[in-house]
Symmetry: none
Subunit: 205 residues, 4 copies
DNA sequence: CATGAATGAGATTTCATTCAT
DNA sequence: AATGAATGAAATCTCATTCAT
């Protein structure tokens, strides 16, 4: 697979290349990143890249996997601290938003993956969704989740987290405000769209 | 802008090229689509492409705009038929899923847009979100929507629709089942994650 | 050779194409002029060009010949009116400057010719030079021209006229001032560079 | 600007490319020279050209500047050795003819420049003319040049040198004969066209 | 290990010319 | 006569990858 450096210097070079690749991919996307962009940023000669990596796709895959693993770990750790399913959801999205803000670049890479490496892209989301469905299933058994299509539900929840992050972190380049988190949690727990009441008065939750 | 054909034959050729471009982009993505793929599929000489379009980006933009316009029209028409906000949401997502299923190709193009044309990508979602926020605001005044951060809410709803479509239409290449639509509508109206019941069967971590 | 139009309309079209070609060649040069520039300016379809001309080179040659012929005629007519060789030179350069100013475009075409059609280019200048040498030879016999290498002399005189025109007409886009004509005539008749006089005083002509 | 090679090998390659470009441009002109002609002659792969130069125009400009600089240096050095203005003119044209003969290629490039790069073309001649005018002005103060329009005079002298070189070096592919140099020097110092004397005898200067 | 020059296949793009209408 | 769409050969340019030093 990847060449494993045998010296301290080699390790540093590989590290520099990986960091440079992450930045390039996240800023310009996979296809618009040239090897020379990466080696330029890493301040190495073009040929050096091929000492450590097979080719462009190989670094991309490595970064995808790395991203995916780190995100899972983080979210998983957050869930450990939760006392209820609703709590878990809130901690989960908070952690997710934090992760996205910290690794804006890596996060963007995922969007690019569908055409670079369709399988990796599918696997990424399906992996998340399956774990989610398992947890939702357990919670359902305990009466903490309504009896609904869990596949649809898991993708709905992933969609919410992704698009709220997209808006605040990617488009606005900021943090997700508390009001938004409250909106998400309320939507999850009570819904947001109310049936028309005959008298039209605002309902009490 | 685009060259406007002066004869029937020219019109047909331009049409063929647009269709070919749509198919190529949706199957291989923007960057992996070569002009020669497009002209090959359209069965024209390479040069013919340049009679009608400036370059690859120009066709891409055209398709993006076209997609956006058609989707809005469809959803808007659906909303006209709705009797309540909740009804509107249901009709809206149904129409959206139908559109995605019918134009799977065009829909995929949007995902590719962020690196091809960041502005167009942002504009696309922001356009949708604004319209959504306006409608939610009106519904809120009528007590049909909870008093929540409407920006976060609009992006949540867009996220739900997009990811459910991603799962069933793109990943599974099928239709969105009724059970999924029911899950979405229930989530919107009543929420899906319930607070731990007072009887307190303690959740297991 | 060229197609000869059989109708009034055809004649007009050919005329329009020739005028357009002249303007394009003179503004952008031969190689940078595209057939579509010419037909665009002439307001005809691209195909129409090929009804009247074999190809691009063919129009270029036509224009070169035309230019050459017209210039000769003009200069020749001027020389007819001259009473002495010196007079002829003055009238000749005046007529040349006038012609260049009136046909700035056509004149420029000549410069382009050396690479388009080396032979035409050589022929153009050699033609001029020969005629010049003949006249200078006659004048020499009459004691109106010094006994010098007439080939060198003819090219010197052509060079003077061309570069003075280049400066004032092409670079400055104006007319050649009287002072410049006086300088040229004085140079021709008395020279301009004086030997160093021991006392260093300005000489009297 | 241009890429600066970091190794001896790179330097050699750049040099080979420059020489090849010079030869191609001078033989076929700018527009008819293809990059592949240059790389073919330099015996490199097509892509190698783009390591060292941005594009065709960039090499052309480089060669123009180089030519101009070298010619100035040569002529300047010649003038240093002159004892009078007339002497300077003779040494100047001799040096010029020698330079043109040695660098026939580079010299031809200039003629092509007006459509390739109008500004460079104008700058080239204007640069020469200005320097010339300065020197003529100084000589005039010393009574070594007649009181004439110096702009016209400088372009006349440049024109003479250029067209005499054109004839003997470019057209004839030989050297400028002594008789031609004598003709030029005589023209400059005493003129060549004499006013008609009533008796028709050769005048004495 | 690192370098950076060289490669060359392949992509984009141009445009003179043809030809059916 | 005129049109203008279509052609396709040829030119420009890119960039992942190799390899001698």
């Amino acid at each position: 697979m990847h060449y494993t450096p045998k010296t301290r210097r080699g390790e540093e070079t590989k590290e520099k290349l990986l960091e440079a690749a992450e930045r390039c991919f996240s800023e310009k996307g996979y296809f618009q990143t040239m090897i020379s962009d990466i080696t330029g940023l890493a301040e190495t000669a073009p040929g050096t890249f091929y000492i450590y990596f097979e080719d462009k796709l190989s670094v991309f895959r490595y970064l995808m996997d790395d991203l995916s693993r780190r995100l899972r770990e983080r979210v998983h750790a957050a869930l450990e601290r939760s006392s209820s399913r609703l709590d878990a959801e809130e901690l989960g999205v908070r952690e997710f938003f934090k992760f996205v803000a910290e690794h804006k670049g890596l996060y963007r890479i995922v969007w690019d993956a569908q055409f670079v490496d369709t399988e990796a892209f599918t696997a990424y989301y399906e992996g998340f969704a399956h774990a989610y469905q398992r947890r939702l299933g357990q919670a359902e058994a305990k009466g903490e989740v309504r009896d609904l299509d869990l596949v649809a539900l898991s993708y709905s929840l992933i969609g919410i987290a992704n698009f709220v992050a997209l808006k605040y972190v990617i488009f606005e380049d900021g943090d997700v405000p508390e009001s938004a988190i409250k909106a998400v949690v309320t939507l999850l727990s009570q819904g947001a769209i109310l049936p028309p009441s005959p008298e039209g008065q605002s309902p009490r939750p």
